[in-house]
Every structure is written in structure tokens, then in C-alpha cells.
């Protein structure tokens, strides 16, 4: 059964001065799919995500979320997206709970649902005893959990996670990976990472980006087959031209 397309990105281009950051990005993410964006630093992963989230405007190309164009109706698209940005922060003097509540309110979640969802997220992520603590007083791992919590509290059809496990300890990485494994059936997740093992473990399909272009996309097996390698890491290095 072919599942419905939730995110469609076509011909995406973006230039910053002399740098062509995106040079015709095309991919689609289907409902219930965890789609990985894999690429070296500066490949264009974060720029792609920023374009999808309307943080920056692309020079050219199409982005649609559940059939709604970002260019023509950005606010309606943003209602459908929960985001964890790379190195993103939250309001340090607000508590974990207040941060999640603020983002939920900004996304128009009804008051009665907010507390219910926050309770559930805190239980799932093990944030119970930290929910009343100011964000600045949380450990890095718990901060990242709260960041994930604020993206989940709006219950979006599309979840975008930009390097969400970078710099975290192994137990916290596992909590986040386990959670993603559970929730990916219910929603679409666009997951940007440069950790190969994570991509292999989590992603149903993925795209490898380099120099603003997608050099390969498909399942892990399809990509390995295309590159003629045994594992994703070798395929990645070969496809981005850094494999001797």
C-alpha cells in the first residue's frame, strides 16, 4: 500500500551570497515514515529544514506539507510541524512545563489538552521530577528531552528533528531513539543526522545530501546497493566523495 505523502520537497534552491547552499533538493516523506537526511557538515541539511519551517525563504522550489504550500500558506504549514532545531534552546527562566505550554499555546492547542499532553510527555521522557524546574537548571540531556517535548506537545503530523542526539550521553540517546521508534508509526518524522548507526537503526528511508544536492535516496539497502558497499557508512563516504 502506498502511503499518503506528508512532505513534498521539489527543486529547492537557496543561495547565501556566493554560496549555493541548496541546489535542487527533491524528496518526499510519507505518513508513518521516518525519513533521514544524512550529510556532512555544511551539506545543506539545516538549510533544507529552515526552508521547510519558513525560517528562511527558498529562492526557488516547492515545499508542501499535507498538500499545503509553504510559499502560499506558511502559517497553516507551521501548524502541522513540530521542530527540534540543531543546538536549539528554550527559555531559560521558564520551567520545562512552561516552555512546553508556551509552544503549545502558540500552536493553538486547546487549553484542556495541553496539560494532558504535557503529563503524558513527561511520563514518557522521564521528566516528571524536572517539569517544574527552570530550563537553565536542567542537564543537557533533560534539556534535549524538553526540546523534544515541546515539539511533541503540539501533536504534529510532521516532526522535524535536526541532529537531536548530538552531544547527549548514551542513556539519553537511547531514550530518544526508543521514543522515536515508538512514535514513528503515528506520524511522519524528518530526521537530520550525521550519525550512521542512528540512521541505519531508525530510518525507513533516507537521503544523502552533499553540496546542496541529494546524491542518493532510498532505503539503507538501496543506497548500499547503489554505492556498491556493504554498509551505510561506506556508502556515505563513497557517495560524498570522501572514500579512498
Amino acid at each position: 500500500m502506498i502511503r499518503e505523502v506528508v512532505l513534498r520537497v521539489k527543486g529547492l534552491r537557496k543561495r547565501f551570497g556566493d554560496v549555493q547552499a541548496l541546489n535542487g533538493i527533491d524528496f518526499t516523506c510519507r505518513r508513518g515514515e521516518l525519513f533521514g537526511l544524512l550529510g556532512p557538515n555544511g551539506a545543506g541539511k539545516t538549510t533544507t529544514i529552515r526552508c521547510i519551517c519558513s525560517i528562511i525563504k527558498p529562492d526557488d522550489g516547492l515545499i508542501e506539507v499535507e498538500g499545503v504550500s509553504v510559499a502560499s500558506n506558511p502559517l497553516m504549514v507551521l501548524k502541522k510541524i513540530g521542530v527540534v532545531l540543531e543546538d536549539g534552546g528554550l527559555y531559560e527562566r521558564l520551567t520545562a512545563e512552561e516552555n512546553m505550554k508556551l509552544l503549545a499555546q502558540l500552536h493553538g492547542v486547546e487549553g484542556s489538552l495541553i496539560d494532558e499532553r504535557i503529563d503524558s510527555i513527561c511520563d514518557t521522557l522521564g521528566l516528571g521530577e524536572y517539569r517544574k524546574r527552570q530550563f537553565k537548571k536542567l542537564s543537557k540531556g533533560n534539556k534535549q528531552k524538553v526540546l523534544l517535548g515541546q515539539a511533541l506537545v503540539i501533536d504534529p503530523p510532521l516532526l522535524i528533528l535536526d541532529e537531536p542526539t548530538v552531544g547527549l550521553d548514551v542513556p539519553t540517546q537511547k531514550v530518544i531513539r526508543d521514543l522515536l521508534g515508538k512514535i514513528k508509526k503515528e506520524r511522519t518524522i524528518l530526521y537530520s543526522t550525521h550519525i550512521m548507526s542512528e540512521a541505519e537503526e531508525l530510518c525507513d528511508r533516507l537521503a544523502i545530501i552533499d553540496h546542496g544536492r541529494i546524491v542518493a535516496q532510498g532505503t539503507v539497502n538501496e543506497i548500499c546497493k547503489k554505492a556498491g558497499t556493504k554498509n551505510l557508512e561506506q556508502a556515505f563516504l563513497k557517495l560524498v566523495g570522501r572514500y579512498a
Binding site: K57, L90, H107
Partner: protein, 392 residues
């Protein structure tokens, strides 16, 4: 859109009020630090003058004029001392508060020439010179009366006119004058300092902490984000000068009795009419709105708290220097000065409190502030609409 503005505004207020730095600038400075800085010098100066008046002043008399020496000795306000060093050394070392030279006389001269040498930078020396002048004038009168008596002229012939100087201003008028001299500058500074921390934190601070990008992914227009932040800045820029004005009024109520030497404190009620209060609030609100927009335009271009402070510091100096300059010139300024932002607020407050405001000043001030506010808001919204500015 309004809901988004409200949520952002509430968030900004909530986070700002949990910040110690904001509370210090909002409450501690206006209500305590600045008033103390204003009151303290007056009390110190007043206390020193009172002590100098109460104690006998040390005077060195250089004269071969025995009558005058006796007169000085008889005065309970003066204490005669010997001049052992040079005049300047005696004054500097406070061995004498002033030195009186009486020049030798020609035998046929009716006039004696005296010089009072004193140090105008010292309160005690100035007071001693005043006391010596009084004793000398009383002595002169005594001599004149004696001479007239020798000629058979009665003493009452000396009295052709009797006069004295009295302070015709009530304490409340004195308070208005004193407040007018000091309050304008502090109100403008209070507004700038009150909002600066909040504006920087909500713009450059958010960029530095990477929370602004997340906020941009919320499904609300960027104008709502900007206005929510802007209104928080306006709130602080408005509250801070009002607290400053209250603090300064309280401080002035203690200083004015020292100025008029009456002791106690002044009743602040009835100092200004409700109409004047409304004008002051309106003008401060417009200034606050302008300041917040101006600070936002500048701060959003910085990528860190520190950089924003560096950008805004020259702005504060540019605003404050002309105000300080005009503040100390109490003359009524020409009408066109009421078109200069910030300066017009200071002049308007001073004019209202001193009752010297030209009729057109309120109109000019309001119109000028509105024009500059609209311009600053246009710049601020242009900055907020630019991804280059927001993501630098």
C-alpha cells in the same frame, strides 16, 4: 494575530521579571539609587553650611586699627586668629577661614580700605567672608553715626529706605522648580535603562540562545512576534520613568526644605494638577514607545547580548548629552527645540513643573514623538522581516 502578540508579550514579561538585572534597573535604580544620589549632595552641602553658620569663623585680621579689632573680638560669629603663614597657606590649611587686610590711612582720609581674602571653593571660607562683611558694615554704620553726631545730625537721617528680601515662593513652587531642574534627565535615562535589558534579551539574547529560530517556527505572523516583544519593551520603558519620577519627587520633598532652610519635608499632594499629570503620562508613553522601537531596531541587528550593549551604548550617550547640556540652562528654549526627541520631553516636564511652558510645546512634543515613533517602528519591522538580520 492579537492572541500571538499576547502570548509573546506575556512570555517576555514573565521571563524579564524573573531576571535580577531587570528588577534592579526597574525598581532599585529609580526608587533608591538615583534619589539617594540626588538627595545626598544637598544634605551634605546643607549640613556643611549650617555648621559653618553655627560655629564662629576663624578670621585673621591684619590691621593697625584697634577699633576694628575690638569689633571683631566682640562678635560671637568670629574668632580672631594670628596669621603666621602666607594667606594662601593659612586658607589651605584652614588655620584661618578668611584674612582681612585693612590698609593704612592717610591722616586726612575719611575712608578706610579693607580687603577680605577668602577661598570661594570652601563653604566655611565663603561663610566667614559673609560674616566679616556683616561685621564691617555694622562697624561702618557705627562710625558714620558718630561722625554725624559730631556734626549735629541725628541718626534717623541715615534711614531713607528700609527693605528686606523674602522668598515669595511657597514650598510646593520650590519643589516644582527643583523637580523641573532634575527630573527630565532622569526620566529619559530611566526610560532608556528600564527597557534596554528587556529589549536586548528579547532580540539579540534570543538569537544568541537560539530560541528566536524556534519562535519563528510558531504559526503566528512575524509581526506578532515583533509586537509582543516590542510591547514588553514599551511597558518597561514606560514604568521605569514613572517610578523614577516618583523616586525623584520623594527625594525633592526632602531637599527643598533644606534649600529654604525650613526643615521637615514637603507635602507632595497638589504639586501638579490632574491635567498636567495626564499630559506627562501621555508624553512619557510616546517617548517609551519611541525608545523601545529605537532600541529594538538596533538590538535585533546584534547577534549577542554583549554586542547589542555595545551597539546601544553610543545611542544612550547621544541621547543623554544634549539633555544634560540643556538641563542646566534654565532659560526658556526656542519653540523648535520641542521637535527634538528626548530633549522635548525633558523641556516639557521642566516647563510643566516650573509653570513656564509655552502653549504650543505640548502639541510640538506629541507630534514630534509620533513622527519619530512611526519611523522607528518601520525600521524595527523591516529588521524583523529580514532573514539576514534575524539569522546573522
Amino acid at each position: 494575530m492579537l492572541k500571538g502578540i499576547g502570548l509573546i508579550y506575556r512570555k517576555e514579561m514573565w521571563t524579564a521579571l524573573r531576571e535580577r538585572r531587570t528588577l534592579i534597573f526597574l525598581f532599585l535604580f529609580p526608587l533608591l539609587v538615583w534619589p539617594v544620589f540626588v538627595v545626598l549632595p544637598w544634605f551634605l552641602i546643607g549640613g556643611k553650611e549650617r555648621r559653618a553658620q553655627a560655629q564662629p569663623s576663624k578670621v585673621a585680621l591684619v590691621s593697625a586699627y584697634p577699633g576694628l579689632e575690638k569689633e571683631f573680638e566682640a562678635s560671637d560669629k568670629l574668632q580672631l586668629v594670628r596669621l603666621e603663614d602666607s594667606v594662601s597657606a593659612a586658607l589651605q590649611q584652614r588655620k584661618a577661614h578668611c584674612v582681612v587686610y585693612v590698609d593704612s590711612l592717610a591722616s586726612d582720609s575719611l575712608v578706610t580700605y579693607a580687603r577680605i581674602l577668602y577661598d570661594p571653593t570652601q563653604t566655611e571660607s565663603r561663610t566667614a567672608a559673609d560674616k566679616v562683611e556683616l561685621v564691617l558694615s555694622q562697624y561702618e554704620r557705627k562710625i558714620v553715626i558718630e561722625r554725624l553726631a559730631q556734626q549735629g545730625v541725628p541718626e534717623r537721617m541715615l534711614e531713607a529706605l528700609s527693605y528686606r528680601r523674602e522668598n515669595a515662593m511657597g514650598q510646593n513652587q520650590m519643589l516644582g522648580y527643583f523637580l523641573g531642574l532634575i527630573i527630565g534627565m532622569f526620566v529619559v535615562m530611566g526610560s532608556m535603562m528600564g527597557s534596554m535589558a528587556v529589549v536586548i534579551d528579547s532580540t539579540a539574547g534570543e538569537k544568541e540562545r537560539k530560541t528566536l529560530e524556534l519562535l519563528l517556527t510558531a504559526p503566528i505572523p512575524r509581526s506578532s512576534i515583533m509586537f509582543g516583544k516590542y510591547l514588553a519593551g514599551v511597558t518597561f520603558a514606560f514604568i521605569s520613568p514613572i517610578l523614577t519620577a516618583l523616586g525623584m519627587s520623594l527625594a525633592a520633598s526632602f531637599v527643598v526644605p533644606v534649600l529654604v532652610s525650613s526643615g521637615g519635608s514637603v507635602d507632595l499632594s497638589g504639586l501638579i494638577s490632574p491635567g498636567k499629570i495626564l499630559i506627562i503620562l501621555l508624553v512619557i508613553l510616546l517617548m517609551a514607545a519611541f525608545i523601545a522601537a529605537l532600541q529594538m531596531t538596533v538590538a535585533v541587528r546584534a547577534h549577542s547580548n554583549r554586542q547589542a550593549q555595545t551597539y546601544l551604548a553610543p545611542l544612550n550617550i547621544i541621547v543623554v548629552i544634549p539633555i544634560i547640556f540643556l538641563q542646566i540652562i534654565p532659560a526658556l528654549p526656542p519653540n523648535w527645540t520641542f521637535f527634538i526627541p528626548f530633549v522635548n520631553v525633558m523641556l516639557l516636564l521642566r516647563g510643566l513643573l516650573m509653570d513656564t511652558l509655552p502653549g504650543s510645546a505640548v502639541l510640538y512634543t506629541v507630534a514630534s514623538n509620533l513622527v519619530f515613533l512611526i519611523l522607528a517602528l518601520r525600521f524595527a519591522s523591516r529588521s524583523f522581516g529580514s532573514e539576514k538580520v534575524l539569522l546573522n
